[in-house]
Symmetry: C2
Subunit: 191 residues, 2 copies
């Protein structure tokens, strides 16, 4: 590895946020999965929890998840299982979901340990999973169309999380445990 490459890996690892994660329930289009995971990398997310779709999109979704190099993708059997996994890490779980109780995303405190959940392109998040989260979050919409593309919704919410964490100085101190740092370093350095 060149010294420059080594420096880049370490700089990115120093900015990783172990207490900001993403949950995808049934998202199945490979271009959406790729765009979302690329956004996760860019805002410092290390862990993505994925519930694969149950239909024939499963194979290509699984392959898009599996091709990811810079984040850990953890597969779960159900939405509630994925929510439980994030909560076991001490994270509040927010569903990006339209409901009467949903809070505008700019009013959320993303400096707290947080997981954000997104649903499928067609049907959104299942009722069962929606019921399992702590809060619903919405991105206000001013036009005719009733929802954003899922990778767009993820980008809007995660960029706000990134901005809040940047302002709070959370990218300026190493946040990973020594064990996770070493594990990620060897994975990134020796693919």
């Amino acid at each position: 590895m060149t010294p420059e490459r080594h420096r880049r890996l370490c700089a990115a690892l120093d900015r990783r946020q172990p207490d900001l994660s993403v949950i995808l329930e049934g998202v199945h289009k490979p271009h959406n999965i790729n765009a979302i995971v690329r956004t996760c990398d860019a805002v410092g997310v290390l862990d993505v929890h994925a519930v694969l779709p149950e239909n024939r999109a499963r194979v290509s979704a699984s392959s898009a998840m599996g091709s990811q190099r810079w984040v850990y993708v953890h597969e779960h059997d159900s939405g509630p299982d994925a929510v439980a996994a994030a909560r076991a890490q001490g994270q509040q779980v927010l569903a990006a979901h339209f409901s009467d109780s949903a809070v505008p995303y700019r009013e959320v405190d993303f400096t707290r340990p947080t997981a954000v959940l997104f649903g499928t392109e067609k049907f959104g998040i299942t009722e069962r999973t929606v019921a399992a989260v702590d809060q619903h979050v919405i991105i206000p919409m001013m036009g005719m169309v009733s929802s954003f593309n899922v990778s767009v919704a993820a980008a809007i919410i995660l960029s706000e999380a990134c901005e809040q964490r940047r302002a709070a100085g959370l990218y300026q101190q190493r946040r990973l445990s020594e064990a996770r740092y070493q594990h990620a370093f060897f994975r990134w350095a020796h693919p």
Copy 2:
């Protein structure tokens, strides 16, 4: 038209921002075009200026542009032509582009009349067009990958523009001229 439908059309038209536009130079993947234009609708953009790709992606890009219902897509022969069109409307033109002089997107004043320019998936904005704009804008990245997906970059910047304009009350007063309002109303109501 049902009264409910009529009400929705008018509410969306009342929030349209004639002084916030988007320029796409050579963006060619239909799913990116569709996601970007859907985001434009959601933040109240009425006009998209498009320079179609020069290669065999042209046909599908053109068809994705043509299928758009809620925004006007204006085609231009070159990036500088598209920039000139936005400037003729009195808009500052910002390129979402990596450069030494680029300003972080949260520091930009998007309540000013503004057009934001995005480049192709592979090569970004051409040098000629980059040279024609007023300022370069960047979304800071904390990870390993060196750019966002283009529809993600558009979402992050446009959602900030939306938030600034919401805070400034720009969605609370009708912004369209009577002529544009009527034109858009008839187009939306009678597709």
